[in-house]
Symmetry: C2
Subunit: 242 residues, 2 copies
C-alpha cells in the first residue's frame, strides 16, 4: 500500500550546490509517512489504544541525484513487511518524468510510550498498511565496528533539534556527521549513499562528539562516522561519495 | 501587489510545543517572496541585467499565534514601498478563517554582486511589484545599543547554514539567539514579537558568540540579543515574551 504526495523543493532546504541536503531529504519523506499515519483514523486510534510510538533503528539511502531547489517531485512511502520486532518501510523521490532519484530502506521498532521499552510489533497496526509478515529476519547492510577516528567535532544538542515527542529528530545525525567533514570536503564531494544505524538516542542538552574516518580503496571514496556521548555510541554510519 | 500561497505546516518545522519555530516561519514566508520574484520573468531578467541581489537589513515580527504542525495556512507577501536606499516588504500568515496569525515588516537593500557594495534602489525593478516611492525615510522600530550581556553561548557556522549564494541564511540568527537562552527559558516562555537588525554577515567557517540580556519591567518580559564575532557586531535583536 504505497502512499505518495507531490512536493516542490524549497530554496531553504538546499545546500550551496542547489540540491536538497540529506537531513532535509529524510525530513520530507518521513513527513509523508507521518501523513499516511495521520490520515488513517484507525491507525491514530490504535496507536493511542496500545500507547506505542515508532522508533527508527536503521536507514539505507541510495542517491541517483538529489532534487534541486524548486524542482517538482513525488515523495512516496510504503510499509513493505515486518517480523516479530522490526517493520520495514521504504521511501522514494521521483522526478517529474517518474525517474527514481532517491530510494530509502528503513527499519522501525515499536516502543511502549510509558516504559520506553521496545515491544514486539503489533500485527493489527502494520497490517492496516498492507505490510506482509516475514518469518525470517531481513537485515539492511551491516555496519562495521567504527575504529581509529581521524577527525572529530563537538556539537551541543540545541533546543530546535528537539521534536514534539521531546526527542532529537533523527535527521540531525546526518548534519553532525557531514558537517564534521568540513567545508572543503562537502564542497568537493557528492553523496552517493548513506547507511546509518541508530543505537541510542542523544539526550537533549548534552554535548556529543561526531567522529569520522575516510577510506579510499578500489576507486571508491567512503567515510565512516560515529556519534558518541562519552563512552556511549549513539549512531554509526557509512557514507559513499563521488 | 500582494502575492500569496497556501501551505501545510510540516511536523519537522515545529518545536517541542507543536508550533512553528521563528526561523522556519521566516524561511516559509521568504520562500514565498522568492517565488514571487522567480515567477516574474521580467524580474529575473532585470536582476541579471543589473547584477544585483537583495540583502535583508531588518525585520520586525508580531506574533498573535504561531501556526501548528499540520495546520493549513496562507502565506502572503507584498513589496509596499521604497526610497532611495531601502525597499519595504511585508509578509503574513493567515489561518483557514483568514485571521492574521503573524505579520512581518522588513527592509531590504540592493547589493551589486560584483563589488558586494550597497547600491541605490533601481526603480524599474521594484515598481514591477507595485511598490510606491517614498520621499522620506521610514524606519522600523530602532534597536537600543546592546550592553552588559548576562549570558552567552558560542556557535560555529555549519556547512548546512549556508545558502546557494554562499551566505549564511539569515534565519539562523534566530536559532542562535533563542537557543542561547536555554531549554528552561524556551520551555516556559512564548514569543510575542521579534525585532532584528542585521549589521554584518557572519562568514562561513567562523565561530560566533550569541549574547543575551533579560529585562523584566512593567509586567513585560523582554530579551536583548547580540551576535558577534570578536569585536564585530553581526546582528542585534529585541524579543518580547509572554
Amino acid at each position: 500500500m504505497r502512499y505518495s504526495e507531490k512536493a516542490l523543493i524549497p530554496f531553504f532546504m538546499v545546500t550551496e550546490d542547489g540540491t536538497l541536503s540529506l537531513a532535509n531529504l529524510v525530513n520530507l519523506v518521513q513527513q509523508v509517512s507521518e501523513r499516511q499515519l495521520a490520515g488513517a483514523a484507525s491507525q491514530t486510534e490504535m496507536v493511542k489504544r496500545y500507547n506505542i510510538g515508532w522508533v527508527i533503528t536503521q536507514s539505507q539511502i541510495e542517491i541517483t541525484r538529489m532534487p534541486r531547489a524548486e524542482e517538482h517531485v513525488t515523495l512516496w512511502t510504503e510499509a513493505t513487511s515486518y517480523n516479530r520486532l522490526l517493520c520495514y518501510r521504504d521511501y522514494g523521490v521521483l522526478d517529474e518524468q517518474g525517474n527514481q532519484l532517491v530510494i530509502v530502506h528503513s527499519t522501525w521498532v515499536m516502543m511502549d510510550l510509558d516504559t520506553r521499552k521496545i515491544v514486539p510489533i503489533i500485527d493489527e497496526i502494520v497490517e492496516g498498511f498492507g505490510a506482509k509478515k516475514l518469518t525470517k529476519v531481513e537485515r539492511l547492510p551491516r555496519l562495521p565496528r567504527f575504529e581509529d577516528p581521524e577527525g572529530e567535532r563537538k556539537y551541543w544538542v540545541r533546543y530546535f533539534d528537539i521534536d514534539t515527542n521531546h526527542h532529537v529528530n533523527n535527521v540531525h545525525y546526518f548534519d553532525w556527521m557531514q558537517d564534521a567533514l568540513g567545508y572543503d570536503w562537502m564542497r568537493t564531494h557528492k553523496l552517493v549513499s548513506a547507511n546509518i544505524k541508530y543505537e541510542r538516542e542523544v539526550e537533549p542538552g548534552t554535548q556529543l562528539t561526531s567522529q569520522y574516518k575516510v577510506v579510499r580503496e578500489g576507486g571508491k571514496t567512503e567515510t565512516y562516522h560515529q556519534v558518541r556521548v562519552g563512552d556511549t555510541v549513539n549512531a554509526t554510519a557509512h557514507l559513499q561519495w563521488a
